[in-house]
C-alpha cells in the first residue's frame, strides 16, 4: 500500500541524502513579522538572492495589534518588526499583505482561504502551527530561522523524512462537539508527544463529514500531539472549498490539478471513536492536560508514574485548581475566540449561535478576533459582529492576538482565560496567565455564564 504521504513526498524529492533524509523542493512558503525579518537579514548578509520570491507570501500577524484603528505603532513588537518586514519583502520582491490590505490575517487562515495552499503541496513557515495547512490536503510543517534562510536561498530543504501515521476517527459527533474537542481528546488520551517524528493522516468517517474549516482546526493541533505534519486527504469537499479562490488555478490548470489530486489519497483507508467525546477543556499547562467539560480535575495521586504526577501537580498549582473539583463552574475573567485554531467563519458562526440574544457575564472581558480580513468581512455581511457586540464582546482586527502575548493582547497574572487557541503553556498568554483551551462553543457559553460551562446546556435551553 502506498500512503498519501509517500506519494506526495516522492513528488518533491530533488535527491535522497541518505536512507532517511531527502532534499525536497518546497511549493509554498509563508513569512510573517516574527519569522521573516531575521532570516531575510541573514540572506542579505550572506549576499544571497531570494530564488523564488513568487512562491513566498508574507503577512504580519504575530506582533500586530488587533485593536480597531490600529497601526504598526500600536504595539512595541509591531513597531520593531513590521517596518523590517516591509523593507525586506520590498527589496526581495516578495508579496506582502500589509495591515491595510483586505487579505491580511493569520498565515494559517489566509493561505487556504486565498487558495494559495493546495492539495499535494509541501508548505513551510517559521511557525509550528503550519500543520494547519494540512486541512486542504497539503503537507505543511514549521521550520526555524536557519531553515527559513535556506528556503529563501534555494527553495529546497534537507529534512529527515517523517514516518506516516494514520489516525482514523469514526462516527457522528454529538451536538456541540467539534474538531477542536476531537483533537484535544486525542492529545489528552495519548500524550503531547504521541505523534513525535510522524506525519499524521486524519481519516475515517468523522473526518470525511467535516468541513474544510473544521479539518483546518483538526490539523492545527497536530504539532501539539507531537507531529509537525497533520493532513486530511483531499476529496470533493476540498475541491468545492478551493474552486474559485483568488489564487487557485483556473480553467484547464484547475482540471489538471484536480485529476492529480484524485490520485494522491492513500490506496487503502487505513482509532478514535468520535461519538463518545464530550466538549473538552484543558485544566493544566499542556494540551495533554485536558478533560471533558463534565469531568473532575485529575488528582496527581492517580498519575501513572512519578514524573507525570509531578507535572500534574505543578500544573494545578500554576492554574490554581484543586484536584477532584469539577472543571465546570470555575470562574474566568477573559474569553478569547480567535487564533489559527478557531478564527474562521464557521467558528464564529458556531460561537454566535450560542451568544445570540444573550449577554456576556459582568466582570468578563470577551473578545472575538477574526482570523483574516476576509473572515471579518464575511462575518460582518452575515451580521455576526452585531450579535457579538450586542452581547458585550469586543470585535477586533485580524491577528494572532491573545494566543501568545507578544502584541499587547495579554491576560494579567493570576487571571483566567478560556481560549480557543492551541497552547496553555506557562506564561503563554502573559506571565502568570491561566489558560483553558476549548472550542468556540464552549468559550462562548463560558462568556455568557462567567464560569466554565458545557455548551450543550445552551442547546437544551434553546430547544
Amino acid at each position: 500500500m502506498t500512503t498519501m504521504f509517500e506519494k506526495v513526498w516522492a513528488d518533491h524529492v530533488v535527491t535522497p541524502l541518505s536512507e532517511d533524509a531527502d532534499l525536497v523542493w518546497i511549493d509554498r512558503h509563508y513569512s510573517h513579522d516574527l519569522s521573516g525579518p531575521f532570516s531575510m537579514k541573514t540572506l542579505s548578509k550572506r549576499s544571497l538572492a531570494c530564488r523564488r520570491p513568487d512562491l513566498t507570501f508574507a503577512l504580519p500577524d504575530h506582533g500586530v495589534s488587533t485593536e480597531p484603528g490600529r497601526s504598526e505603532a500600536s504595539t512595541a513588537a509591531g513597531s520593531k518588526m513590521l517596518p523590517a518586514l516591509r523593507r525586506y519583502t520590498s527589496s526581495l520582491r516578495i508579496q506582502l499583505f500589509d495591515l491595510d490590505d483586505a487579505r491580511q490575517g493569520i498565515v494559517h487562515v489566509v493561505g487556504p482561504e486565498l487558495g494559495l495552499t493546495l492539495p499535494g503541496m509541501l508548505v513551510v513557515c517559521g511557525d509550528s502551527h503550519t500543520c494547519t495547512q494540512g486541512g486542504v490536503g497539503a503537507l505543511g510543517w514549521g521550520i526555524g530561522n536557519t531553515e527559513v534562510t535556506q528556503l529563501l536561498a534555494t527553495q529546497a530543504l534537507n529534512v529527515l523524512r517523517p514516518k506516516p501515521m494514520l489516525v482514523r476517527i469514526e462516527g457522528q459527533l454529538s451536538p456541540y462537539v467539534t474538531a477542536k474537542d476531537v483533537i484535544l481528546h486525542l492529545i489528552a488520551r495519548d500524550g503531547a508527544d504521541a505523534g513525535s517524528g510522524h506525519a499524521i493522516e486524519f481519516g475515517g468517517s468523522t473526518v470525511r463529514m467535516m468541513s474544510v474549516e473544521a479539518r483546518l482546526t483538526l490539523c492545527n493541533l497536530s504539532v501539539d500531539f507531537g507531529a509537525s505534519i497533520g493532513f486530511v486527504a483531499p476529496d470533493e469537499t476540498t475541491y468545492a472549498y478551493l474552486d474559485g479562490r483568488p489564487y487557485a488555478p483556473r480553467g484547464s490548470r484547475w482540471d489538471d490539478a484536480v485529476d492529480y489530486w484524485r490520485s494522491i489519497p492513500s490506496d487503502d483507508d487505513v482509532g478514535v471513536e468520535a461519538c463518545g467525546i464530550a466538549p473538552q477543556v484543558s485544566c493544566g499547562t499542556s494540551p495533554a492536560h485536558t478533560i471533558g467539560v463534565d469531568d473532575l480535575v485529575p488528582d496527581p495521586a492517580d498519575a501513572p508514574d512519578e514524573s507525570t504526577a509531578r507535572a500534574w501537580s505543578d500544573a494545578l498549582q500554576y492554574v490554581g485548581l484543586r484536584s477532584r473539583e469539577p472543571i465546570a463552574g470555575v470562574p474566568v475573567q477573559h474569553v478569547f475566540i480567535g487564533s489559527c485554531t478557531n478564527s474562521r467563519l464557521e467558528d464564529l458562526k458556531r460561537a454566535a449561535a450560542v451568544v445570540r440574544g444573550r449577554r456576556v457575564a459582568s466582570g468578563v472581558r470577551a473578545w472575538v478576533v477574526p482570523g483574516s480580513g476576509s473572515v471579518k468581512r464575511e462575518a460582518e455581511q452575515l451580521g455576526l459582529h452585531e450579535i457579538f457586540v450586542a452581547a458585550g464582546f469586543a470585535w477586533r482586527e485580524p491577528g494572532c492576538s491573545m494566543c501568545m502575548s507578544m502584541n499587547g493582547d495579554v491576560v494579567a497574572p493570576g487571571e483566567r482565560c478560556i481560549s480557543t487557541s492551541n497552547r496553555n503553556f506557562v506564561g503563554r498568554q502573559g506571565p502568570g496567565a491561566r489558560t483553558h483551551l476549548a472550542s468556540p462553543e464552549t468559550a462562548a457559553a463560558t462568556a455568557i455564564t462567567g464560569h466554565i460551562t458545557d455548551p450543550r446546556r445552551f442547546g437544551e435551553e434553546s430547544v
Binding site: D20, G144, Q150, L160, S286, V426
Partner: protein, 209 residues
Amino acid sequence: MSAIKPLVRVASRAMPLPLDSIDTDVITPMSRVIDGTYVDRAFEPLRFCADGTARSDDPFADPRFAGAEILITGANFGCGSSRETAAWAVKAMGYRVVISESFGDIFASNCFKNGVLPLRLARDDVRALLKAAENEQIVTVDLDEMTVSSGLQHFPFDLPEIRRKAMLNGLDDLDVSLSMLGKIEAFETARLARRPWVVPHDADEDGCR
C-alpha cells in the same frame, strides 16, 4: 562558511532537569525573544520569580553543575513553538548535548542546525543517567562509538546517518543545499512543467484586491 563546531566526543558533568514537557515558551519566553534577553533569561519561569528576582530553587544555579556541557531532561523537551531562539539559548548556556526520552520535532531539527545534539534514549536509560548526573558523575557522549556512558553503564543510541555525519563534520545545511543548486534548478523546471498549477494564479491581475 560554516560556523558549526564539529562534535565527536563530549565528556563532562551533566545538568539534571527531570521535568517533562519543557516547552519552547519556557526555554525562551516570547517577551524575552522580543527584548533580546532570551539567553540571560532562558528558562525564566524555572529561574526567576514574577518580580524578576532569582528563585531560590533555580535548578541551573546549583554550583555542582556549573560548566556542564550535557543537559538531561524529562520527556517531550522543546515541544511547542518553532522559535529557534530555544536552540540558540541552550547552545549559549554551554550545552552541546541534550538527552531526553523525546523531543519536539522542530526543536530537535533546530538543534542539529546549530551543532547541538538532541539525543533520544529509552526512559529507563534517561533515568539512570539522571541519577548519575545527580551523583556528579562524568557522562560521556561518543558519536564515533554511538554510546553514552557513565561509570560502568553504557547506553548505545541511534542517530540518522545524515545527522551523525553533519555533527561529526560540523556541516552547515545551507552550504550543503547551496552546493546542490544545479540539481534543485533542474528538478524545479521539471516539476513546474509537470504541475504548472503550483505557481500561484495571479490574483492581482483579476483585480481581486
